[in-house]
Amino acid sequence: MFIEAKYPLEGKPSPPNAVWPHPQQITISNDVLYIRPHDLKIDSNIRSCDIIAKAIQRYEPIFFPPKLAMIYHRPVVVINDSVTLVDSPRFQHRGVMLDTARHFLPVSIIKKNLDVMSYNKLNVFHWHIVDDQSFPFQSTTFPNLSRTGAFTPDHVYTPADVSDVIEHARLRGIRVIPDIDTPGHTYSWRKAMPELITVCWANGKPNQAIYGVQGEMEMFNPLKPRVYSTMDALLRENSIFSNFRPIAKVWTKCMINVARLSNPAITQWMIDNNINSSVGLHTFYANRILNITRNIDVTPIVWQDVWDEKVELPPGTIIQVWKDSSDNSAFGSWAAYLNQAANEGYNVILSSPWYVNYISYGKYNTNTSVMNLEFFKYYEVEPLRGFTGSDEAKKRILGGEACLWAEFVDGTNLLARLWPKASAVAERLWSAASVNNSEDAQFRLDVHRCRLLRRGIPAQPILNGYCGNYEVGMARSMVNDPAFNYEDGSPTESTTIDPSAFALRIGNSKIYYVLYINSFIFFVLGL
């Protein structure tokens, strides 16, 4: 509940049951019904779908929280007498990227984060699973990678952990896309596979680190055939994920700085093959990796660098636009990028304006109030701003991702730092373009943030005020309640229950056209 005596905010206060993200169509009557737990039956007419069955189970403690009586002072929830809802997403790809290499994220936190994603109808978990700093992914083909590349033997994702995460996501309608970043960001591979990594030279000597210029060894060496056989095997293993994403990066000075005599073998090879720039070397590598994907049933997603360097991409390749993520509000050029790439026939997803790891303080403006700049900044992005192509090209703009790089994030602060900021991105990607009044939306988001707290998510505040009696540390807090938490190393059990078609009727409320299991979430109201 927003409280600000002195400097009231612009915008329309929100009812306590405002839906987030805002549906395409919603009509709500003013009368309310009181519902006791035994009055409500949720059923489905599809008998063979475990996703629905599990969702019904899962939403029970959400409709009727474990400490409900204490929360509401009486054991009921309230719903508007008549609700009609027609809903569908504006964009197909609505993602969150987490980085588990700069800091390790325990599986319990990853699963809890998938829960919050589903409360916001986000449907892609982009898992940046390895990087220079560590290799926590335990490969079945190459177990030495994590054995030597993880921070410690405790800081790994076993195959069981990975299936657990994928199953948890599947039950929430979320795709998991692994991100095995190459040719750069591969320092953590070096102990298991030193021959893959380029040795950096200086002053005629190998293994020379120069502060701020090069490490002693870094990046894949594109001349080594084993690079490609390894990637082939690893990508086949990873096709258990929904897609994959080789990430290309411009070669550093370590490899091509002739003046410093860095790696002479590569320099010589480039001369021999008439390749005279880093771009040429990069193209050589990217082509070979993309060729691998042609033989495996996966769709490659590449960071935009690959396209920048004019590498020929297989049909269906998705380009992720990340550049121009400066912290000021001049997001001019990503729009041009989307425009051009979509018009040239590529699928694109946007993340430039949504690097949510770049935190900043809400500016104190004494004329209005404390504004939550972070929310405004992420919410006021319009992916199709300045788009000029055909309708067909427009469809190639698949959506976007909020990226939380983990230099300063781990299990201690992930949930509070990401939520409800990523909810702003979620509404932008789900709701109609016309839902764009951030002054109003901040009130709805404040309500949504309290909803997340009720579901045990420690989402941080966006406005002054309070959230009822279930805040963190209070006796009725859900944040540590077993209903909303997971133990590390105890997987989500799969189910064989198969109820069928699905209808949700509460009093006179008719809910039509439930496209998405997460549409359930709206009906617990805070009083």
């Binding site: 921070f151 800081h155 960001h185 320092y187 781990d410």
Partner: protein, 551 residues
């Protein structure tokens, strides 16, 4: 490609470890923690590679027969024993002394049989010179020495507070070790704080913070030897303090009746702080920042527009005697509830518009001969308030505006500087002869991306042009965590370990200033917080801790 561009080339920080934990010296992509190094850095520390094992079945604290002792010492020894040997259960234990130790998770990594050929540290002898004070004060002595040699160690302190600081350091010296389970090195420490007042402000009005979370924060403070909790308890937005004399204040001014601090809550918080040598300095800010006070009790100025009251309220109304009668009762209650000598009276950011609009205030201005100068009215108000509080026997701390506005205050007043440029402000306030606190450069709520603690670390309260006498008047500083975007979801992770860098600036010697040298120690300190159950966030870029936070 992304935020990591700078971090890829992080310094290859050489670990200052004296323990035996193997690390990869070539890996320069993440920060490596020290092993067994205290935070904040002691004034003098000497260690050798000689290691001793430490085992719960073979170690005990011993109070020297000639030492002073008291309940504070007994409970501190009990606490530190659990902190050292049962870190997993420790936080639950201090929040709820009835809770049980998790024998499985806290099981020693080595048995005594494993350690049969290892020299063990068997006891820490504690010796305190002077009888215990009941509460810490601005003048308390916190110095101590620790000597760890052979199978016994000695901790000596002038006061109980020094002994508590020394126990904290002792707990930092003990580190997890692959071969010994827990180990400590031969060490000599002579230590004392550079500044007396090492504070942290939390704001419980913009958002409520539960007593439990406040206690976790006090524990985190004592882990970094901070000794003043500045409790900004009420403000415009809410009034969670449940007053004995005026229960309506929180009755109408709290967010709801679960978002209040009862007298019992306050007492338990003060006791929790006292056991850690932490003073609780409460702030009742006035005349501005008081909207939440006036919902039932008519003490605020009625604002006018077009010659009529417009139902809006301004600062406290100084034109009415009833305002001061109320404040007399209120502050005499505060004086009995909060034992510290100091009460913080606020006095910042007074808005004159409403005073200007009110005909009674205008008439009062005329009567007093203030003309049109409303700062004289502010001065009049604050003068009355400081006199009221002074008459209760208390001293007071104030934000710098009071002094900027020429209010006459008692000689022992502590003035808190929060404006920029702070070197000028410090020079000006100390020149007037007041004890001074710095907080300008330590507004931790202003978050930004990256290793922002380096800025806090570089800010020095003696960085101003002044005489030695002026420098001596600077009694310390405070890290401030204002609550606009902070509540119990993020207060601990946003405050810690960033506030610990302020703690080191205020405790350690003036020449301990190199952030690169501090980084690996800070990294160890963060992991130490995690091991003790406190979710301190990563602040140094990529890294890991043996115990990651997964709750």
């Amino acid at each position: 490609m992304r935020s990591s561009a700078l971090l890829l080339v992080l310094l290859a920080v050489v670990s200052h470890s004296h323990g035996k934990r193997p690390r990869d010296p070539l890996n320069s992509f993440y920060v490596q923690a020290t092993v067994g190094q205290p935070w904040p850095q002691p004034q003098a520390i000497h260690t050798t590679p000689q290691q001793y094992g430490v085992h719960p079945a073979a170690f005990h604290f011993l109070v020297n027969q000639t030492s002073q002792t008291c309940d504070l010492l007994t409970s501190a020894l009990d606490r530190y024993y659990k902190l050292i040997f049962y870190p997993y259960s420790y936080l639950n234990y201090i929040l709820d002394p009835e809770s049980v130790i998790d024998e499985i998770k806290d099981k020693p990594k080595k048995t005594l049989f494993d350690l049969r050929d290892t020299p063990l540290l068997k006891r820490l002898n504690v010796y305190i010179q002077e009888p215990c004070e009941q509460y810490p004060t601005l003048e308390s002595d916190e110095s101590y020495t620790i000597v760890v040699t052979s199978d016994s160690a000695v901790l000596e302190a002038v006061s109980i507070w020094g002994a508590i600081r020394g126990l904290e350091t002792f707990s930092h010296l003990i580190y997890p070790d692959d071969n010994l389970g827990l180990a400590i090195n031969q060490t000599t420490i002579i230590d004392f704080p550079r500044f007396q007042h090492r504070g942290l402000l939390l704001d419980t009005s913009r958002h409520f913070i539960s007593i439990k979370t406040l206690k976790i924060n006090l524990e985190a403070m004592s882990n970094s030897k901070m000794n003043v909790f500045h409790f900004h308890i009420v403000d415009d937005q809410s009034f969670p303090y449940e007053s004995r004399s005026f229960p309506d204040l929180s009755g109408a001014g709290a967010y709801n009746q679960d978002h209040v601090y009862s007298q019992e809550d306050i007492a338990s918080l003060i006791e929790f702080a006292r056991q850690r040598g932490i003073r609780v300095v409460v702030e009742f800010d006035s005349p501005g920042h008081t909207q939440s006070w006036g919902r039932v009790i008519d003490i605020l100025t009625h604002c006018y527009s077009g010659g009529k009251p417009n139902n809006e309220f301004g600062p406290m109304d100084p034109s009415r005697n009833s305002t001061f009668n109320f404040l007399k009762k209120m502050f005499s209650e505060v004086a009995t509830v909060f034992p510290d000598h100091y009460v913080h009276l606020g006095g910042d950011e007074v808005d004159f518009d409403c005073w200007r609009s009110n005909p009674d205030v205008q008439a009062f201005m005329k009567q007093m001969g203030f003309g049109n100068d409303y700062s004289l009215l502010e001065q009049y108000y604050m003068q009355k308030v400081v006199d009221i509080v002074g008459s209760t026997g208390k001293g007071y701390a104030v934000w710098q505006e009071i002094i900027d506005n020429n209010v006459t205050v008692k000689a022992d007043t502590v003035v808190e500087v929060w404006k920029d440029p702070y070197p000028d402000e410090l020079a000006r306030v100390t020149k007037l002869g007041y004890r001074t606190l710095l907080s300008t450069c330590w507004y931790l709520n202003y978050i930004s991306y990256g290793k922002d603690w380096v800025n806090y670390y570089k800010c020095d309260p003696h960085n101003f042009a002044g005489t030695d006498a002026q420098k001596k008047l600077v009694v310390g500083g405070e890290a401030c965590m204002w609550g606009e975007f902070i509540d119990a979801t993020n207060v601990i992770t946003t405050t810690w370990p960033r506030a610990a860098t302020v703690a080191e600036r205020l405790w350690s010697a003036a020449n301990v200033t190199d952030p690169n040298a501090a980084t690996p120690r800070l990294e160890e300190h963060r992991c130490r917080y995690l091991r003790r159950g406190i979710p301190a966030a990563p602040v140094n870029g990529p890294s890991y801790c043996d115990f990651e936070f997964n709750r």
